[in-house]
């Protein structure tokens, strides 16, 4: 059975147009398996990209993320559920374990469903805060869809997101003038950690309120968040590159909205790019995008062919090269640095002695080699060649190669006759030796003058 499944999986993977670097077993969790029909286009896209989707409900008996300590699924997709807790199979600890085991999670939320406590606590561990009571609705009285929400203003119409800085790669903008529609959005706020990155932040005119409790007015003290502080779609990437994405609006990927036509106030009617956005979002979350791979690291003495020696000598010239590939949808490609970004090499013992920008040395079919040459410091010890390249939306590159740097051996110093300062002393030695030999020669060859009196006595 196993092998049969394996063959099927293999065939399936072969025909699929794309596949994640982390496997294709996807578990979708929803209240009722029948609800999946509402997401037919979205899930169809995933299936077409090669994912093997298993549908289950949180309360299901046979549900288990781990079997004998091994991950059962590569990716998790939470669609909004009505249940308050997700039961003993999906506690926050298990979800954290899942992330620690390099599993990816996509959490889709909706203001019509309160998020479960399990999800809330799990996100809280990642420093993502949901509104009080895990319920909220984002409204914006300036960027709403006039067709469907002319009264309630709860369908946001936003431009496709741009990267926060120009040194960050852009994965989530289908095209320059693409428009996204986000109905019934739950906002969240992010902590200051560098593992978190917002993709889509609310416009400065948006705010979040609780439609059940705060239906007439929002007290300033009770305001959850507003404006740019309110994130609608955010991603989290753990140190082991496992990815967690929070999507504030599950409706935007439902069939009814994924290709809907919307219109802003005083705007024309446009078709939303939700489908493309969802593709990019799932592609990134399930590690089809933005995955970096270090193929090899090579360091050697400049002009010497021995690669990766374990020990160097102080003050020698060393060449370092690291080959990096980037995975994009279906293949490994050479990694190209964004503008204004650099991969840096640290040569460190306790603290860096060198911190150098690496420049592209060569590009092969699927990899770019970044490299540099430098002179080792005049300090012996145990050093690390370290490339610590952590950027938003790119998987973590943290390569540490330990080498020893030894002192100069006793026979590697310049000989004394090469050092001009030593010449007086060398000539001193020469003079002493010559003088001694000359003295000996004179001593040996000179006959002592016999003292008259003494000579007689000895005879």
């Amino acid at each position: 059975m196993r092998s049969f499944l394996g063959v099927v999986t293999f065939l399936f993977a072969a025909v699929a147009s794309a596949v994640s670097t982390k496997g294709n077993r996807l578990l979708v969790l929803l209240d009722d398996v029948a609800e999946k029909d509402g997401y037919a286009k979205f899930l169809g896209d995933l299936t077409a990209r090669g994912y093997q989707i298993v549908y289950d409900t949180p309360r299901s008996e046979q549900l288990s993320l781990f079997e004998l300590g091994e991950r059962q699924y590569d990716h998790l997709l939470f669609l909004p559920t009505k249940v308050k807790g997700l039961g003993p199979k999906l506690t926050p600890n298990i979800l954290i374990d899942f992330v620690n085991a390099e599993g990816n999670i996509l959490v889709a939320q909706s203001s019509t469903h309160s998020a479960s406590t399990s999800i809330g606590n799990f996100l809280a561990e990642l420093d993502i805060t949901l509104p009080a009571g895990r319920t909220g609705l984002v409204v914006d009285h300036f960027n709403y869809d006039t067709i469907s929400a002319s009264e309630k203003h709860d369908v946001l119409v936003l431009d496709a997101p741009e990267p926060v800085r120009d040194s960050v790669k852009s994965f989530f903008s289908p095209s320059a003038d693409a428009v996204l529609a986000l109905p019934n959005t739950v906002g969240h706020t992010l902590g200051a950690g560098h593992l978190l990155t917002p993709i889509l932040r609310a416009p400065s005119t948006a705010y979040s309120y609780n439609p059940k409790e705060q239906f007439d007015a929002v007290d300033a003290d009770d305001l959850f968040a507003a404006g740019k502080q309110l994130s609608l779609v955010s991603v989290f990437q753990a140190r082991n590159s496992a990815r967690v994405t929070v999507l504030g609006s599950a409706e935007m990927i439902q069939d009814s909205w994924i290709e809907a036509k919307v219109s802003r106030p005083q705007g024309s009617k446009v078709t939303v790019a939700n489908r493309e956005f969802a593709k990019a979002l799932t592609g990134w979350t399930f590690q089809e995008l933005g995955v970096l791979r270090v193929n090899e690291v090579e360091h050697h003495l400049t002009g010497n062919n021995e690669t990766n020696p374990g020990i160097y000598r102080v003050k020698t010239d060393v060449t370092y090269g690291i080959s990096i590939s980037e995975y994009a949808w279906d293949s490994w490609k050479p990694y190209n640095l964004p503008e204004n970004d650099a991969i840096q090499l640290e040569f460190s013992m306790l603290s860096p002695f060198h911190r150098l920008d690496l420049s592209p040395v060569s590009v092969t079919r699927d990899a770019t080699v970044f490299g540099t040459s430098f002179t080792l410091p005049d300090q012996h010890g145990i050093f690390n060649f370290r490339v610590n390249y952590k950027r938003p939306f790119l998987s973590v590159v943290d390569e540490k190669h330990t080498v020893s740097v030894r002192h100069i051996a006793h026979d590697e110093w310049p000989r004394s006759f090469v050092i001009s300062g030593a010449w007086p002393w060398i000539s001193g030695i020469g003079a002493t030796v010559t003088g001694f030999l000359a003295f000996c020669a004179v001593w040996v060859y000179s006959k002592p003058t016999p003292k008259a009196g003494k000579a007689k006595k000895t005879q």
Binding site: N93, L190, T197, R239, M349, F383
Partner: protein, 745 residues
């Protein structure tokens, strides 16, 4: 030697018989010396002892495996992580090279021998040679044939020497004491003969000594002192001039070939006496020459001018160069020789070593037994017949006694002279009372009336008194019998001390079961073996420096600090990590890439040499570098007590060392009965909680506990909240009072 003296009266064959007897006696003494050092091998196994020997053993293995030049340039990247140690240039290679030479020689003779067995048995083998060297040295002091043999026997079995040379005690002292005694013998020989050859031999062995042990400075100071005293006594001679200058010139050159010594002989104050006396000898030699060609009056003014000028220039030069930094002032270890309290205040790392403590008086009797009271008698005998070599004994005895008094380990340098002097005294007694010959009355009367040669016949005045009664059989039997009893007691004392005090490997502990059988506590090796088999080959182990050499030798894992305490700051860093709270320790451990932390805990077994008892030294050493962050006072309760129980201070309870020692300890006991058997205190039922490290291994008797340093949290939390999350505590709701914390992208 009883036989030897009888041999004197046995005709033409006497000379040969005596030689044969002497050789066989010396062989027996050497055999006894070796045999008495084998207790530990028989009782435990052929194992390297204690701490430093493990490094020497590891270095020897490196030497044997990689050859001499690799060893000479050895950069050791498995100690002092991440600084590394230029080991080849910072050790005394004599010991390892000696073992390596023996190893290769035996290999060449097709004797397949393990390098470990050579290392284990090197010290006993050299003790046999030391006995022989003591025999030679004593023979230079006295004409008595028995004194040398007695000295050899004393040297062979005296506990003061055995303490550092039992089988397995593979330390520099193992060969250094032989070299010390032999160098002194060669010096005396050179001085007596005024021979350049013997002086050169002396320099050669001095060079070997320098290559072997830091204690060579003792020779470097004693020989010039001897020369100075001789000159002061008006005994300057060409013999002294030749032997001293030969020794100094060649010996200094030889010593400078050792990388660890290098230019120290011309740069540090410890070596200045030798240099000064070298100059002084030249000066005196020059004056002697001038005197032969000058009138007495001119000479007097000349001498005064020259001496005042030379001494003045010399002193001014010394002071000037020292203040300019060309000559290093006395090192801290040297200061502590003059002021025993110095180290405790200024350099805690030196004071923390037990063998650097002042000697307790009973230790003298413990290590030397009856020799300690024979010793002054021997020195007194030297005064009787004060030749140049006797002056040496007197000088050595004075300084040796002083140094042995201020530092326990220097008992070792005192022992040889004690053996020599005591042997002279003992042989004097035995020679006097054992002679079978009865003088006839007239001779005695003659001797009594003229008093011609009382000194020649015997040193002790009592013995020279011509009372006839002393020649009776009864008095002879009484004295000789008494002496024999003392000698027998000495042998039994030495055997007892060796067996009970000096034959424990300290790596393996032995205890007695209730039925009297021996129970081996092998926690150290258990832990080191665990490290060797269960951790990555480059997993860095942090422990207090005492265990560094053992971890390197037995577990073969890199360590942060070890017994070669060359970098006080690095040791203080480890001390700070141990004595601070987890919040402070964790970044230190991360920075130094520590994978495991090893602590020694004796609370369960009552093993008092554990880390909690050493803890205050860690605190003091750390405080020396970071007085603001680590304070010794905070580890004492308000009443000034050092406690580990419920009343311990918060600083103590939060320190990493305390937490690691007592983590989970309470789970061994029923509630309310947790007890620490070393400190004899009752511990609280709630044990400490660890967040940044986790227990990896604890040995059978809980002596060694190993903890693994956690990696950074995968999802970016600090380890304290991650640990509390794992324990099932919910994150506190993030409703904070005060202004919102905004995120900036």
């Amino acid at each position: 030697m009883a036989v030897a003296t009888q041999g004197a009266s046995s005709g033409i064959n006497g000379q040969n018989t005596r030689t044969l007897l002497r050789v066989s006696i010396l062989f027996l003494i050497a055999a006894a010396a070796v045999a008495s050092r084998l207790f530990s091998v028989i009782r435990f196994e052929s194992i390297i002892h204690e701490f430093d020997p493990w490094f020497n053993f590891r270095a020897t293995k490196y030497l044997v495996a990689n050859g001499f030049y690799k060893f000479w340039d050895w950069f050791d990247d498995r100690t002092w992580h991440p600084l590394g140690r230029v080991t080849g240039g910072t050790l005394y290679p004599g010991l390892m090279v000696t073992s390596g030479v023996i190893y290769h020689a035996l290999r060449a003779l097709t004797v397949p021998v393990d390098i470990r067995n050579i290392c284990v048995l090197l010290a006993p083998a050299f003790s046999g040679l030391t006995a022989y060297a003591a025999y030679l040295l004593t023979n230079e002091m006295t004409t008595s044939s028995s004194a040398g043999l007695l000295a050899a026997a004393f040297m062979g079995i005296t506990p003061g020497y055995i303490s550092r040379s039992v089988a397995g005690s593979y330390d520099n002292e193992a060969i250094a004491i032989f070299l010390l005694v032999f160098t002194f013998y060669l010096w005396i020989k050179a001085l007596k003969l005024g021979s350049m050859l013997w002086g050169a031999l002396c320099a050669l062995f001095y060079g070997y000594m320098v290559a072997s042990w830091g204690g060579y400075a003792f020779i470097t100071c004693i020989l010039p002192l001897h020369a100075f005293v001789l000159i002061g006594m008006g005994r300057f001679s060409n013999r002294l001039y030749v032997s001293y200058t030969t020794w100094y010139a060649l010996g200094t050159l030889a010593s400078m070939q050792i990388p660890f010594v290098g230019f120290l002989p011309v740069k540090t104050s410890e070596h200045m006496p030798a240099l000064g006396i070298f100059g002084f000898v030249q000066l005196v030699g020059f004056l002697q020459y001038v005197r032969s060609s000058m009138s007495a009056k001119q000479f007097k003014t000349f001498v005064i001018t020259v001496i005042v000028g030379a001494v003045g220039i010399g002193l001014a030069g010394l002071v000037g160069l020292t203040s300019l930094g060309y000559i290093a002032p006395w090192s801290g270890r040297f200061y502590s020789l003059w002021d025993t309290g110095y180290a405790k205040i200024h350099i805690p790392i030196i004071a923390s070593v037990s063998e650097h403590q002042p000697t307790a008086w009973p230790a003298f009797f413990f290590d030397l037994n009856m020799l300690i009271w024979l010793f002054p008698a021997g020195v007194y005998l030297c005064f009787q017949d004060l030749r140049d070599e006797h002056v040496f004994v007197v000088v050595y005895a004075l300084f040796g006694s002083y140094f042995a008094g201020v530092m326990v380990r220097l008992m070792l340098t005192l022992t040889p002279i004690v053996c020599v002097a005591a042997a002279m005294a003992a042989s004097q007694i035995l020679d006097t009372y054992l002679s079978a010959k009865k003088p006839n009355v007239e001779e005695v009367a003659d001797a009594g009336s003229t008093d011609a040669k009382p000194v020649k016949t015997s040193g002790l005045r009592v013995a020279s008194k011509p009372a006839v009664g002393i020649f009776t059989f009864v008095s002879k039997a009484l004295v000789v019998g008494g002496m024999a009893v003392y000698l027998l007691l000495f042998v039994s004392h030495c055997t007892w001390v060796t067996s009970n005090a000096y034959s424990s490997p300290s790596v393996v502990l032995a205890s007695r079961m209730p039925d009297g059988s021996q129970h081996i506590i092998d926690d150290y090796r258990e832990a080191y073996q665990w490290l060797r088999q269960n951790t990555k080959e480059d997993a860095k182990i942090m422990s207090w420096w005492d265990y560094g050499y053992q971890i390197g030798g037995m577990a073969d894992r890199p360590t942060l600090v070890d017994n070669n305490t060359w970098n006080n700051t690095h040791i203080a860093t480890v001390g700070k990590a141990m004595s601070s709270s987890e919040e402070v320790s964790y970044p230190i451990m991360r920075q130094h890439e520590v994978d495991y932390v090893l602590v020694v805990f004796g609370g369960l077994l009552g093993y008092s040499g554990d880390d909690i008892n050493k803890f205050l030294w860690m605190v003091r050493i750390a405080e020396g570098i970071w007085p603001e962050e680590v304070k010794e006072r905070n580890f004492f309760t308000s009443r000034g007590e050092y406690r580990v129980d419920a009343e311990a201070t918060d600083t103590m309870k939060n320190s990493l060392m305390y937490k690691m020692s007592y983590y989970n300890y309470h789970s061994l006991f029923p509630a309310g009965q947790t007890v620490d058997r070393v400190r004899g205190s009752r511990l609280p039922d709630q044990g400490p909680v660890l967040n940044t490290i986790e227990e990896a291994y604890t040995t059978e008797n809980w002596i060694i506990r190993i903890y693994k340093v956690k990696d950074l949290d995968n999802v970016g939390r600090d380890l304290f909240s991650a640990a509390s999350f794992d324990r099932g505590q919910k994150k506190k709701s993030s409703k904070k009072k005060g202004p919102r914390v905004l995120r900036v992208d």
